[in-house]
Structures are given as structure tokens and as C-alpha cells.
Amino acid sequence: MNHAPHKDYGGAKLGMWLFLFTELLLFSGLFLLYATYLSRYPREFTAAGRDMHVGFGTLNTVILITSSLLAAMAVTAIQRNERRNVLLLLGGTILCAVTFLCNKYLEWSAEIGNGIYPGSPRLANGPPGESVFYSLYYITVGLHGLHVLVGATLLAVVAVRVKRGTVHAGDFVLLENGALYWHLVDLIWIFIFPLYYLIL
């Protein structure tokens, strides 16, 4: 059953875009809950939102936007057949992802140290809206963090392929799709950041 390998770039891109849609829809359920509960508990949401560490959030936003830029540059570099640059740029992207997750770890440790986590006694005794806010925050950001991890792994796989030469200037749809996925991870954060850190 040796199907002659057929490469359909248009098809591969279409499939990837459909997949990105499903990822957005996955998060949309959480945004829907956010909208509903914000309208029900505006005061508690505002109070909790003011306690968020805006510094951490801003830093992570800058890191992710930078990483997206690096990923996009990697796609351009491979079209110019600059393999070394592709590897450096992908390495930079992955480094950004790791830094992002480390920051997240520090931020969450601080929060948990203050007794703020889903099901904690402090939240159980606080106002109801506050518990909903933090539970949503942890689940949304946790799920996003998981996507950062998946995206970074994907880019690492792509980098190995680039090094081996199976992804090259003549066939780079895998890198392009990997970068698309990474932009999605970035995009979702661009919505999470203002909703939890800024507008409240």
C-alpha cells in the first residue's frame, strides 16, 4: 500500500486553519462563562482583577509577542534557505515559551502562597464572585499554559526536522503550520491578558 507521497500545500493549510478554529472555540466556552459571570458579579470581579499581578502579565505579553515575531521570521528565513537562522529563531521562540512558563510558575506560586487557588479555604469563605473569578482564571490560564507547552514541543520537533533537512526551502509547510499554531497561542493570550489583568 505505497501511496505515492502527494503533497497538497493548500490542503495542509486548510486543515490547519480548521484546527485553529476548533482551538478558538475550545477557549470560547471559557470566555462565555467569563462574560456571564462578569455581568452577574461585576463588583467581585473588579476587586479580584485589581489584585492581579499586572507586572507578570505585561512581561509575559511582551515575551509572547516577541516569540511570535521570531516564529514568523523563521518562516521567512526558511524560504531564503538560511537553515542556521531558522534554527536560531526557533530556538529563540522556544526559549520565550520556557521563560513564559517560568514566569507563570512564579506568579502562580505567589497566588497559591496567598491561599488563592480553586477550592481553597480562603476563597470558600470569600464572596461567591471572587471564587468564580479565580477558578475561571486558573482554568483558562492553565489551559493556555498547556497550549504553550504543546506549541513549544511542536516547534522543537520542527527544529529537529529542519536540522535533519526533511523540512527545507522546498517543503516547509510543517514549519508554517507550527508557526500558525504558535500565533494562535499568542492570540489567545492577547485576549486573556486584558480580560483578567487590565480592564477590571
Binding site: G11, L18, L26, G119, S135
Partner: protein, 538 residues
């Protein structure tokens, strides 16, 4: 490419290898289709068995064969198995995979390895669901809807079952992505959108629903796990959550999901009716369009499951209106099928009998759906056996009978052998009779006020419950005859040629069983899917 065209070998013996690995690691859409067929149909039989047990329990008031806790687990597992393990993956996974690529003139789907991965995800999800039955606190007892707050608190193994369903949902998304891409990119030359067989149109609409709705199921299931494991309290009123929000999220997926179940079924019927009526389909464009219309409008009606849960009157009115809107494209299909039959030269063979009974049973199911969709009547029959009857008319009488029709219509093509006609008709007669006795009694019981999912009932409901249970046995007898006849025929029956039914779609133009590459050269399509004259069929 070799200049001499070798005789095409069938996909059954192309590799020279037999063994299980030549199947479970195959990327051939036909093999994957059969994998899906056997795995989903196996779960269908498990579901049937559980359903029969439920009917025996309800045969008489009080305890018959099982205690209340077992009863709760049985109806939950019956629902989970039938919906998530059989009917959602079944039709797209089995017949979508087997037939759709050939019908559009393609060699395979767009992403063959992803296709195999989807089946693996399905298999892994199924194993997780099965594991949940025998470990931890025992099988889930929440009903297949996993409603909070009960699902967040019950001691049974809900988390694991939900994880299994999550994995299966991921498989469903990947199948959807694969099929949408395939239908966009791999149509043969001349296979324009206006020449797509209607089964392909329905698989296309289904694939979009799979892509757009299933992620919401994913996040909903993640949230149940968060409730149980983290104690997130997002749906816990004691901590500011709202259980009704869970119901919204659940039905935003699960209502469109019923169209994942019924749309491919409608596609089968649209392909079978013209072949056995010897007439081009009536209203091709409207049937194709109505599939998309059902997929679109069906995504906006989830609220009709929640009229009694606490919504504003405006919301109820809007959801009720939209529910009635969905009835329009469904009716368009029914009228077009009936018009196709008009003055046709109808041959009543097994696939056609199942297709004709689909029209009747689906119409009953659809019209009783409007009784539930109208808020005023829904208040009276909500959560009664009327809902159970309605649902089975659409899902079993509709999707199930279409699945049987597809089995009789397409499986001989892939096995090269055919079942015996007479036992198939007898089996159909048993099933059709048993089905109506079984589920029509349920609808009457519901109108009289018997609630669904109750372990025990008042004595005045006893006679009809007994009738219903007897119906389930007649149905089971028919099912056994059908299975024995069908599979005996597929393995040892009379050999069939490439076009046993006289169909005009592309799958009938290639050898039986199909060669691995489907077509020895890329087909060029010059006529529509139901143009029997141009296809050279007498």
C-alpha cells in the same frame, strides 16, 4: 509509473500481509472505514443489550432484575455507549470513510495518517470509557448528559468516563477536519459541487458541525473534571456558580451533535431512494442546501432542552422559533424523497425497505420533536417517556435504520458478496414492527405522565410498559436475523458484480471489492450522481 497497467488487486489482499497489524496500522480509508464499522457496531450491540436489560427492568413495577443503583448506571452507560461510541463516530467514521472518497473520485482522504490517528483516538477513548465502568466508584450514574451538580458530587467514576468522551470528541474533530479538507481539495476532475452525491453533501455538512461544535463539548467535559478534581465551583451555586450555565454549554454541543447523527443518515437515504426508484433525485439542489441549512440553524436551538431549567421568556420564545425553523429544511428533504418516489419504478429490496421506513419513522420523530420544541406543550411532556420515545424515533428509527440501509447497500460492494434477500426482508419486518411497539408505547406513556429515568412507576403505567418490553424482544429477534443473514452473506454469500443495484455514483464504476487505489486512473466525471442514463445503467 509503469506503462503496463497491472490488474488492480482488491484492498483485501494488496499487501500480501494479513494479520491484525495490516489493519490497525493501515492508512487506507477502506480499511479504516471497516475498523470504524466493526468497533462502532460492536458498541451498538453492547448498547442494545443494555437497552434490553432496561426494558426488562421496567416490564413491571418494582424490582424485576436489578436494583435502583444498577438501573441508574445501566441507563447512563446505555446512553454514553450509544451516543458517543456508536452513533456519532459510526456513520461518518464507517460509511463516510468507506464511501465518501470513492464517491468524489479520490484515492484516499486528504490526511490518511491523521485518519488512522482519529481511529486510534476513538479506540483509546473507548477503552478509557470501558475502564471507568469497572474501576473507582463504579460506572457513572448521571445519565449521558452528565448534569451538574450531581455529576460533580456523585461517588461513581464520572471523571474517567468524561475523559474518555473527551478523547473521542478529539477524534471526531479530526475526522471533521479531514473530511472538509478532502471534499474541498480532492474532488476528481469534473466532480463539481453540483455533481457531488448527496451522501457527500451530508458528510460535508456533518464534518462542519463536528469541527464547530465538538470543541465546546471538550471544554464542558474539562470543566466537569475541574469541578470534581480541583473543586473549582464554577457550577456550584454555593460558591457563586450557576448549574444552568453547565446546561447551556452542554447543549451548545449536544444539540448540534444530534445533527452529526442524523445528517449522514439523510445522505444515505438520498442516495438509496433514487437508485431503488430508478429515477433521478427530485430537488437535488434543495436537498444539498437543506443539509447546510440544518447544520447552520441546528447550531442555534440548544435552548429548547432547557425550557424548564430557568430561562427568560424571551429566550424561550426565540429558541422555540428557531426550533421550528429547523423543521423547514428537514421537511424539504422528506418532501423531495417522496417526490422522487412518485411514478418511480420502485424495487422493494432490503436497503430500500430500511430507507422507506426511515422516512416514516423520522417524520414521526421530527413531528413529535415540534411538540417538544413548542414551549407550551413541552412543559407537560418535559422529562417524560415522551422524550425517550421521540428521541429513539429520530435516532434509532432515523439514524439507526439508515445505518442498516447503508449496511445492506454498501457492504456487499466492499466484501464482494451479498446477503440473501428474503431473510433480510423478514428481519426488516420484525424490526419495523418491534420498533414501533417499543417506542410508540413510550410516547403514550409519556403523555400519560410517566417520567423518564425513574426506576419505579405507578401501577396504571404497567400494561403499556409490558407492551413496550415485548416490542423490544420483537426488535431484538429482527436484529439477530439481520445480523446472521448479513454477515453470513458477506463472508459466504453469492458473489456480486461491480454494480449490483444499478447506481450511478462513482463507487459503482470500479471493481468489487475496490482496489487499493480505488481508480486505476483518475476519473473524469461527466454526469451527475443520479443520471442513470448517462452512467449507462439500464
Amino acid at each position: 509509473m509503469a506503462t503496463v497497467q497491472p490488474t488492480p488487486t482488491s484492498f483485501w489482499n494488496d499487501t500480501g500481509k494479513t494479520g491484525i497489524t495490516s489493519w490497525i496500522f493501515s492508512t487506507d480509508h477502506k480499511r479504516i472505514g471497516l475498523l470504524y464499522f466493526y468497533s462502532t457496531f460492536g458498541f451498538f450491540l453492547v448498547g442494545v443489550l443494555l437497552g434490553l436489560l432496561l426494558r426488562i427492568e421496567l416490564m413491571a413495577p418494582g424490582r424485576t432484575i436489578m436494583g435502583p443503583a444498577t438501573y441508574n448506571a445501566t441507563f447512563t452507560v446505555h446512553g454514553v455507549v450509544m451516543i458517543f461510541l456508536f452513533i456519532i463516530p459510526g456513520m461518518p467514521g464507517a460509511f463516510g470513510n468507506l464511501v465518501m472518497p470513492i464517491q468524489i473520485g479520490a484515492r484516499d482522504v486528504a490526511f490518511p495518517r491523521l485518519n488512522l490517528f482519529s481511529w486510534w483516538l476513538y479506540a483509546i477513548g473507548a477503552v478509557i470509557v470501558l475502564t471507568s465502568l469497572f474501576t473507582g466508584g463504579g460506572p457513572p450514574d448521571t445519565g449521558w448528559t452528565f448534569y451538574v451538580p450531581f455529576s460533580a458530587r456523585t461517588g461513581t467514576n464520572v471523571s474517567l468516563a468524561v475523559l474518555g468522551v473527551f478523547v473521542i470528541g478529539f477524534s471526531s474533530i479530526l475526522t471533521g477536519i479531514n473530511f472538509v479538507t478532502t471534499i474541498h481539495r480532492l474532488r476528481a476532475e469534473g466532480m463539481t459541487w453540483g455533481r457531488l452525491p448527496l451522501f457527500v453533501w451530508s458528510i460535508y455538512a456533518t464534518a462542519w458541525v463536528q469541527v464547530l461544535a465538538t470543541p465546546i463539548l471538550g471544554i464542558t467535559l474539562v470543566l466537569i473534571m475541574a469541578e470534581r478534581i480541583l473543586g473549582a465551583g464554577l457550577f456550584d451555586p454555593g460558591r457563586g456558580g450557576d448549574p444552568v450555565m453547565y446546561q447551556h454549554l452542554f447543549w451548545i454541543y449536544s444539540h448540534p451533535a444530534v445533527y452529526i447523527m442524523i445528517l449522514p443518515a439523510m445522505g444515505v437515504i438520498s442516495d438509496v431512494i433514487p437508485v431503488f426508484a430508478r429515477k433521478p433525485i427530485f430537488g437535488y439542489k434543495m436537498i444539498a442546501f437543506s443539509s447546510l441549512a440544518i447544520a447552520a440553524a441546528g447550531s442555534l436551538v440548544w435552548g429548547h432542552h432547557m425550557y424548564t431549567s430557568g430561562m427568560s421568556d424571551t429566550a424561550i420564545l426565540v429558541f422555540s422559533f428557531l426550533t421550528f425553523v429547523v423543521a423547514i429544511p428537514s421537511a424539504i428533504k422528506v418532501f423531495n424523497w417522496v417526490s422522487t418516489l412518485y411514478k418511480g419504478s420502485i424495487s422493494l429490496e432490503a436497503p430500500m425497505l430500511f430507507a422507506l421506513s426511515f422516512i416514516l419513522l423520522f417524520s414521526i420523530g421530527g413531528l413529535t420533536g415540534l411538540i417538544l420544541g413548542a414551549a407550551a406543550t413541552d412543559i407537560h411532556v418535559h422529562d417524560t417517556h415522551f422524550v425517550v420515545g421521540h428521541f429513539h424515533y429520530v435516532m434509532f428509527g432515523g439514524a439507526g435504520f439508515a445505518f442498516f440501509s447503508a449496511m445492506h447497500y454498501w457492504l456487499p460492494k466492499f466484501y464482494g458478496r451479498k446477503y440473501a434477500e428474503k431473510p433480510a426482508v423478514i428481519a426488516w419486518a420484525f424490526m419495523f414492527t418491534g420498533f414501533n411497539i417499543l417506542y410508540f408505547s413510550m410516547m403514550v406513556l409519556g403523555l400519560k405522565g410517566m417520567p423518564r429515568r425513574y426506576y419505579d412507576y405507578l401501577p396504571e403505567f404497567a400494561p403499556l410498559n409490558l407492551v413496550s418490553t415485548i416490542g423490544s424482544w420483537i426488535l431484538a429477534v429482527g436484529l439477530i436475523i439481520m445480523l446472521v443473514n448479513l454477515f453470513r452473506g458477506l463472508f459466504w454469500g453469492e458473489p456480486v458484480g461491480s454494480n449490483p443495484w444499478g447506481g450511478a455514483t462513482l463507487e459503482w464504476s470500479i471493481p468489487t471489492p475496490p482496489p487499493t487505489e480505488n481508480f486505476d486512473q483518475e476519473p473524469v466525471v461527466t454526469h451527475g450522481p443520479y443520471d442513470f442514463t448517462k452512467a449507462g445503467v439500464p
